[in-house]
Chain length 370, copies 4
C-alpha cells in the first residue's frame, strides 16, 4: 500500500520524538491521557482494515469430528453440542470473521435441549438430516436441508430432532462476538422446554405468502415474523429471477432474505442471502465493508479472496473479511451453484459504514497466487 | 339514531332563529361568510356518515352487455371499452362506493390499446379469458383469471390480449373520484405503444419470491415493485394460513396484498385483499371506516350489509360503504369461498381516520330485513 | 385551454351517439352501470381541476360582525361562536377552499366552553386579544397574537379567555369538509371542562427547544407533541433564515411548522407555514396541487391569483385553490410582510398527488386583469 | 455475582475435561475449529459485561498540559493538536470508554488546519476561548463555550480560531474505535482549506428554529442538518422544561440533542445530551447498556459509579461504562448543575441492544466505598 498512501503529508501526524516530547508523553500517561499524534496514523487508516483472514473449512474434514461430538458429550452437559469455526486471527473473540460467530451443531434423533435466550441473535442453515425443528418463542418450526431459520435477539429458543428423524447437522450463525464487544449480551435459561403457543409452523404458514400479509395481525417486533425461509421456495425464486435478470456482475443472482413486514434485513444485526451462480459463471472482483460467512448449498466452485483461491463444494464453509477483494466462480459448465451467506450488513448499513469498490485492474479479475 | 344521539346538549348548536339573527345571517352571506352554528350540527355528525348505499352487481346480468360493448365501439374510439358500475347515490362522481371507481373491461384476442397515464391509480382483477397482458412503465405483465395487477399513479400503461388468446374480461378499480375530489388528477397520452424495457414478467419474476428481495436493486417508488399477485400463489397461501389461524371473526382468513419492500399497501391510495371464508363460515358483523368493492373469486354465499342480504357467487361484484355494518356467509358446507376486495384504506389509515366497532346486538349477527 | 388540450386524439373517448348506443346506455343504467366512454373525458381531466375560486375576506369588513356574534348568541347556545368563511363554489360542503374549513371565533374575557372532540383536526391562528387559552387533552396552552396552536384529530379540546384578559379573536382551520367527504367524522361532547393533567404550557415548555427532545419521554401519537408555535420564536427564526437564504423564488422565506419528533407536518391532514416576504419582494408565479388558506400576520401587500389581484393587510384572509397560478408581493419597500397559511399538503403528499409547475410566460409574472 | 449466577445448571456448559476430550480439542484446533462448550460460558455472560473502568479526568490537571502541546507541536506536524483521554482498560483501542474516543484540542488565535474527512463521526463540545470555528462540508460554523457541534461521517472538516480571538479549547468525541472495530474506517486529506459554499452559520440559522423547517429544502443525509446546538438556546430550554417536568429519577432534566428532520439522534453512531441537575438534586441509581462520556458544563457535584464517588466541577470529564450502576449529585443547594454527555446509544438502540435496570437496593442509592 506504500505506493498509494503516504503519511508524510499535511493532515497526517508527522511528529518526530524528542527528549522533551518523551517527557511530555510520560506525564500525560500518568493522567490517563496521551498525545493523539502518537497514535493518529494508526487509528485513522486510509482504508478499511480488517483483523480477520480469509478461511475455508472443508466439510469433509469436519463432518466426522462434528458427529463424534455426539458421542463425547450430551446436550445437557454441553449446553449445545457445537463445533465452532474460528478465524486464525480472531481466536480472542471466538469469531469466524469480524464479529460473527459460526458453528456446526449436531442433534441425534430423539434429542432435544432445554430453552434459553440471549441478546445475541442467531440463525441456522440446515446441512443434513430429517425431522429437525426449532422452537422460537413458543412457535415450533420444522426444517429441512437448505432451509434458513432465524432465532432473533431475546427470543426463547430450543432445538431437537424427532425420534423417527435422522441425525441433523446445521450451521449456526450468531453475533455473539459483536454483542459482547458492544457490552450488551445477556443470557437466561428457561426452566425446561417451552409450551407451544401456536400450531406447528405458524410463522411460515402465516407470513410465507408471496406479497401477502395477514390483515388481522400487527407485527411490532424489530425482526422478521417469518422465522423460516424454505429452500423449496427459495431455489425456484432464484431460478425465476435468473430468467429475467443479468444480476450483479460481482455476485450473480443474489437475493437477500427479507422481513416481509419492512423489506429490510431479517434481524437488526445480521442479514443473510442466497445467491445463484449460473453454469460457468465467473463474477468480477470487488471489495466492500461488512463481514461474510458463506456455505455452499449446491454445486461446486471456488472463490478468489485477496488473490488466493479457495475451492468449495456443497457444505463447505468459508469467510470473506471486510474490504477483502473477492470473486466467485461456478466450476460446472452445466449446473448452477448456490452460496448461502450471512453477514453483519444491518450493522454496517444502519451505522452508515457501507462502501464498496470494483476491482479495476486486470480486467476486473484477480491474479491468483500460486 | 334518535335514541343514541341528541343535539339538545351543551356542545351542540342550539340557537333558535330570530328576526335579528336572520338579518345577521344575510349580512354575513354578502361577505362570503356564515354563522357556524347554523350548519355545525350538520357538518359535525356524531358518527361517520356515508353518502353511498350498498349495491350488488350480478355478473350474469352484466356479462352480455359487457361483451356487447366490443361490438358497439372500438378501443380506439372509446379510449377504453369499459362498463362502469355506479352507486345510486354517487352518480355525480361516477363512483361505485365512496370515492372508488370500478368498471368491467373487455378486450378481444388481438386487440390492444395505446398507452396513457394519470395521477389516478388503477388495479385490475382478472375475471375471464386467456392471453391478456398489461404493460406498466415498459414492463409487460401477462395475467390469468383471479390474478391481481396494479398500475400505480403516473405509470404509463396499456393492455391487450394475444392474438391466439381468448376474450379477456377484467375488473378495473381506480381512485379517479378521489383524485378528482382532491383536485389533483391529470392525464397524458403516449404516442402509440410502449417499448418493452424489461423481459416479460420481469416484475413478478424478480420480486415475487416469498421473503426474498433482489440484493442489487434499490426500489424508491412509493408503490409495490411487484405488479402482479398470482392466484396460483395466493390461493395456496390462504389455505396455508387457514391451517394455523382462526382468522378474524369478521373476515375469516383475510390477507392484504402487500408491497414486499415496505410491508404496506400496494399503492398509496388503494389497498386490496383476498379473503377465504371456510366451508359454512358465517362471520360476525362489524362496521368500520373506509369504502370497499368486492368481487367473488370462488364459491358462493351472501353478505348482510346494514341489515339487508346480498347473495353473491363467482364474479359478482358488490360494495360496502364506510361505516356500514356487514357480515359474510359462505353458503357451501363443503367448499371454501374467496372474496377479492379493494379499498381506500391507505387513505383512511395514513390520515388517521380508521375506526371500527363490533356489532354487539343479537349475538353479533344482524337481523336480516325481509 | 383549447389550444393545449385536444380530446380528439387516440387515448381519449371519441364515441358519437347513435340510437343503438342510446338504447345500450339505457339498458346499462337499469343495472347501476354506464359506459365509461360517456364520462371518461370529464372524469379524466388533462390537468388538475379545482371547484373552488380564489377569495379574499377583508378583516375590516368582518371584524364588527364577528364581535356582534358575541352579543347575539352565547357559547352555550352556539357550541362555538364562529363566523365561518365560505367559498362561493363550495357552499355545499362549507369549505373556504377545497376541503378546508376556516372561521373566525370570538371569546370574551371570562368566557369558556365545555370540551368536545372529533375526528376532524383543528388549528388556530391568533388574531387579537389577551389571556386566551386552549386545553388540549388536559394540557392548557396560553396564547398570544400570531401564535399558532394545534388541536389534533380526536383530542379533547376547549377554549377560553381569562377574566382579566381582553376579547380574543382567532382564526380556526379545520379539515371538517375533508373528513366528512372521507366519511369518517365523528363527534363527542365532554361532560363539562377537562381536568388539567399537566402544568400550564407543559407541551411548549417541554418540546419547544430548538434541536432538543426530552430523553425520558416516548411520543407515539401521529401528530406533533408541540401544541403551540410562538410568534416570539417564529419571527426571529424567519429573520435568521433570511440572513443566509435566498429562499424560494415563489414564496420568499417559507418555513413549515414541523413536528419535532418526525420533521413532518404538524398533523396528518393539515400542514401550516409562515412565510416572510422581504421589503419590496415580488415572487414569481407558479401553480401546484393542494389548497391553501392564508392570513396576513404582518405588513401589507397583494397576491395575484389566476391573473387577478387581491390586496391584503394584517388580518386579512384569502385562499389559493389547487393548481391556481399565484404570486405574492410585499408592497412595503422598508418593512417585511408575513403570511401565515394552512393547507392540505399532508394529504396531497402522503397520497402521491403533489405536483408543481413554474409559470413560464411573461418572465414568470402574471398579467393582472383589470 | 456468585450468588446470582450459577453456571452449574442445565443450559450452561458443564463438561469436565478428559484425555479423550483433550485429544479431540487438539484435533479440532488443527482445522480452525473448537468445541463451543469450552468457551460458551465465557462468551455468553449472564449480564452485559464491560471491559472499561469508570474514570475521571480533572481539568485542573490536564489544562496546562493541553496548552503546552501548542508549544511542542504545530497543527501541521500533528495533524491535530490533541491530548486524548484513554481508559486504563482500553489502551489497545485508544478509547475513553467502550468504543468511544475523546480528546481535548487546543487552537491558538490565527491558527487553522487543512481539511480532512473519515468514516468516523466527530463532535465537539466547547470548553474555553473565543472566535473558534469549524467548517463542515463548506459550511462555516462559529462557536462559543458550551456549544455543541457535529462533524458527521464523511464530511470534510477543518477548524480554526480567528486571529483576534482567544485560544480555544474543546473536547472532541469520535467513534474511531468503533469504526475501526467494525473494519470500516477510512481517511482522506483535502488539498488545503475548503471553499465556503454557504454563508457563515447557514446551518444553525436555517435549521435552528424551534418547530420550524425550511419548506424549500430536502434533507436526505442520515445526520442532522443542524450542525451547532447553541448553549444560549439549550440552557433556557432546560430551564423551561424544569418548570413543568419532574424529569427522570435517574437523570433529572435530560434532553437529547436531536435531528430536527427526524427527531432522532444527531448522527448514526453517536448521540449527545445535556442534562440539568436541580439545586441539591441527588438522582437514583440505575444501570443500562451503552457507553457515556460526560463533561461538566456548569456547577459542581459528583457521580457514584459502581459504588465509587467521582467529584466533578466545570470542565471535568468522566465516563460511565456500559451496565455500570450510576447516580448523579448536584452539590450546590442553590445553583443548578449541567452535564453534557455523548454516547453510542444510536448503535445500541438501532441494533436492539438497549436495556436498563433500576438499582433496587438501599432505597435506590449506592453505598459509597471508602
Amino acid at each position: 500500500m506504500e505506493s498509494k498512501f503516504n503519511d508524510d503529508v499535511i493532515g497526517r501526524a508527522r511528529v518526530k520524538d524528542t527528549p522533551e516530547l518523551e517527557a511530555y508523553y510520560k506525564e500525560l500517561e500518568t493522567l490517563g491521557a496521551g498525545a493523539l499524534w502518537t497514535v493518529a496514523n494508526d487509528i485513522e487508516p486510509w482504508e478499511p482494515r480488517t483483523s480477520s483472514v480469509p478461511m475455508l473449512w472443508k466439510y469433509e474434514n469436519l463432518r466426522e469430528l462434528v458427529l463424534k461430538s455426539s458421542e463425547l458429550v450430551t446436550p445437557e452437559q454441553a449446553g449445545r453440542r457445537v463445533v465452532y469455526l474460528v478465524n486464525d486471527k480472531r481466536k480472542d473473540v471466538s469469531a469466524a470473521v469480524g464479529w460473527l460467530y459460526t458453528g456446526i451443531q449436531v442433534t441425534r434423533p430423539g434429542e432435544s435441549t432445554s430453552a434459553h435466550r440471549h441478546k445475541a441473535s442467531a440463525l441456522r442453515f440446515i446441512m443434513e438430516g430429517q425431522g429437525g425443528y426449532t422452537v422460537v418463542d413458543g412457535n415450533k418450526i420444522t426444517f429441512e436441508v437448505n432451509d434458513f431459520v432465524i432465532t432473533p435477539n431475546s427470543t426463547w429458543h430450543e432445538h431437537g430432532v424427532a425420534a423417527d428423524g435422522k441425525t441433523c447437522i446445521w450451521q449456526d450463525g450468531l453475533d455473539i462476538p459483536l454483542v459482547n464487544a458492544l457490552e450488551a449480551n445477556d443470557y437466561a435459561v428457561y426452566d425446561g422446554k417451552q409450551d407451544l403457543k401456536y400450531p406447528v409452523n405458524f410463522s411460515p404458514l402465516t407470513y410465507g405468502g408471496s406479497g401477502l400479509l395477514p390483515a388481522d395481525k400487527i407485527w411490532d417486533k424489530p425482526y422478521s415474523p417469518l422465522f423460516k425461509y424454505s429452500w423449496k421456495n427459495v431455489y425456484p425464486s432464484l431460478l425465476e429471477a435468473a430468467q429475467v435478470n443479468y444480476g450483479s456482475p460481482y455476485d450473480g443472482i443474489l437475493m437477500h432474505y427479507s422481513n416481509p413486514v419492512t423489506g429490510g434485513h431479517v434481524m437488526q444485526t445480521m442479514g443473510a442471502s442466497m445467491q445463484l451462480l449460473r453454469a460457468g459463471e465467473h463474477t468480477k472482483a470487488h471489495q466492500h465493508t461488512g463481514s461474510f460467512v458463506y456455505q455452499c448449498a449446491k454445486g461446486k466452485g471456488y472463490s478468489v479472496i485477496n488473490g488466493k483461491r479457495y475451492d468449495w463444494k456443497e457444505r463447505d464453509i468459508f469467510c470473506v473479511p471486510s474490504w477483502a477483494v473477492h470473486e466467485h466462480v461456478n466450476l460446472s459448465e452445466t449446473e448452477d451453484a448456490c452460496l448461502f451467506s450471512f453477514n453483519d450488513l444491518p450493522v454496517i448499513e444502519s451505522l452508515g459504514l457501507y462502501q464498496e469498490r470494483a476491482y479495476e485492474e486486470n480486467g476486473g479479475f484477480q491474479v491468483v497466487e500460486n
